[in-house]
Amino acid sequence: MKGRARMAGPNGRLLGAVGGAVAVVLLATAVVDVRESAASGTGAGAKVILVAPAAPGGGWDMLARELQNGLRDEELRYNVQVTNVAGAGGTIGLRQTANREGQANVLTMTGLGMVGAVETTNSTATMDDVTPIAQLASEYGVVVVPADSPYETVDDFVQAWREQEETLPVAGGSMGGVDQIFAGLTAAEAGVDPGSMNYLPYSGGGEVLTSLLSNTSQAGFGTLGDFRDQLDGGPIRALGVSAPERIEGFEDIPTLTEQGYDVELANWRGVIAPPGLAEEEIDELSALVAEIVESPSWADTLERNRWTDTYQPRAEFESFLDEEIVLTREIVKELGF
């Protein structure tokens, strides 16, 4: 379109007229689009904005897109938009949500990672600044070692870990993230000082795997989803999971608790809404989430991503969140932040 009005030659007038017409059409379409995007219809036509506080490809992004898909599939909402607001462990997205005071059509993905990041980045926005809506699903943590590792049980590994407290390299996700919190909890339970363990942070579960397989680190901490495809006869073995009981489909992996280490940690994910909402607005959002969670397409989502259903409605989620914040604050302090 740029070139339309380029020439002022003999055909200039005609070209100008055509260019002008094109411009008018474009402008009209654009204005309609702006209007559409801003539209706040009613019922199933109402617009919903899902904020994923991470870049495409991560767990929060996935959750947001699954919700988007669910809302459309179940014909609950048609106009659903996913916005990625990546940065600082999710606290940029948290800050943005806190600033959307009074907007009743926004759901921001949250989770243990965000609770941890609030502490480790000294974020000025905290979970107190937003409205918790519901907890949706969890993934449990797992301790893995290379298949040829001498450690057969958590006890074997812990013994070596105690002996080489400050040198034994263990790998996991980024500093201050869920994996490090998991490693810290396990260390504390094993009698290793979480602050002095030799934790090698990687940017994701995949890289942790390479770290193990290239013999850079001796053990890896992550969520089951990161490693599940490599466990069954693959290059790594699982020593224990951080679930309260053995996980369906992975019954041969013992829990940490049954091996005598009281570590129960779920990388839970949920949704929060902006502050300053009226009680009925909160109820409406909660009802919407509740409806999805009960739908067949959500069952499919859980199955597909192998998330464990740990749905908690608002009241339950609020008290759970408070506990998690206290626990996280403690362990983050021990980790040395």
């Binding site: 379109m1 740029k2 339309r4 009005a5 002022a8 100008g16 260019g19 002008g20 094109v22 411009a23 474009l26 402008l27 379409t29 654009a30 204005v31 689009d33 702006v34 209007r35 559409e36 995007s37 801003a38 938009q81 996913v82 916005t83 602050g195 002095s196 030799n198 980790l335 040395g336 932040f337």
Partner: protein, 227 residues
């Protein structure tokens, strides 16, 4: 440069003034820019050897800095270096393993400061030679950095700043059009109405493509309120 070097010299690079007059478009080129690029010469598939080129413009990368402006870039480099060193001294980590988070900033900061000093030394030497040359009645440093026309640069910078400041308020269509129009004006476009129509069309096209087509939100701003 010697044409018989067995391996090239990566680190040192080649010195343009000595480059063989080998191809079309010689006498360019600073990375990413095309200073001195003459539009007439260097046409694609013209017989290369016969392309008659006007005197090649000096390579700006080897043009020495003179006058007070000579100290601007060394100052920028020094500033970067000092900030890096300040960071190296103040960053604290929970558990610093041997090279802690301050190690790299320290090294980079130190090198930046050293490079800034080196640039200063070169400046002083250039100035001295220039003075000497003038005293002896010879021309000084032959190549100079071309003069800057500040007004278009300032217009663009201000347009950008205004665009950034008003983006959320005006919305993409209006703020984007303003940006397009302002930059076009800085580049000498003077058909105000036509420029405005093109600007509006461009901004609208982007709104349609990104928001409607790809689902990426652009701020609606005033337009949301008016329509």
């Amino acid at each position: 440069m010697s044409t018989r070097e067995p391996l090239n010299t990566w680190l040192v690079g080649d010195d343009a003034p000595e480059r063989e007059p080998d191809s079309q478009a010689q006498g360019t080129v600073a990375t990413g820019t095309a200073p001195g690029q003459d539009a007439s010469g260097a046409v694609a598939d013209a017989p290369v050897e016969e392309a008659v080129l006007p005197a090649a413009a000096p390579d700006p990368e080897t043009t020495p800095w003179t006058g007070p402006g000579a100290w601007v870039f060394p100052a920028v480099v020094l500033a970067f270096g000092l900030v890096a060193l300040w960071g190296a001294a103040t960053i604290t980590a929970p558990d610093p393993t041997p090279p802690g988070p301050g190690f790299f900033p320290g090294v980079i900061g130190g090198l930046l400061v050293a490079v800034a000093v080196g640039m200063g030394v070169v400046n002083v030497r250039t100035a001295r030679r220039e003075k000497q040359a003038l005293a002896e009645g010879r021309p000084g440093v032959s190549a100079k950095i071309p003069a800057t026309e500040w007004s278009p640069v300032l217009i663009i910078a201000l347009t950008l700043a205004a665009h950034i400041a008003l983006l959320d308020f005006l919305g993409w269509i209006l703020a984007g059009s303003m940006l397009f129009w302002g930059v076009a004006y800085a580049f000498g476009a003077r058909h105000y109405l036509r420029d405005a129509i093109v600007a509006l069309a461009m901004a609208s096209a982007i709104q349609v493509g990104f928001s409607m087509g790809l689902g990426l939100t652009l701020p609606g701003g005033l337009v949301e309120l008016i329509f």
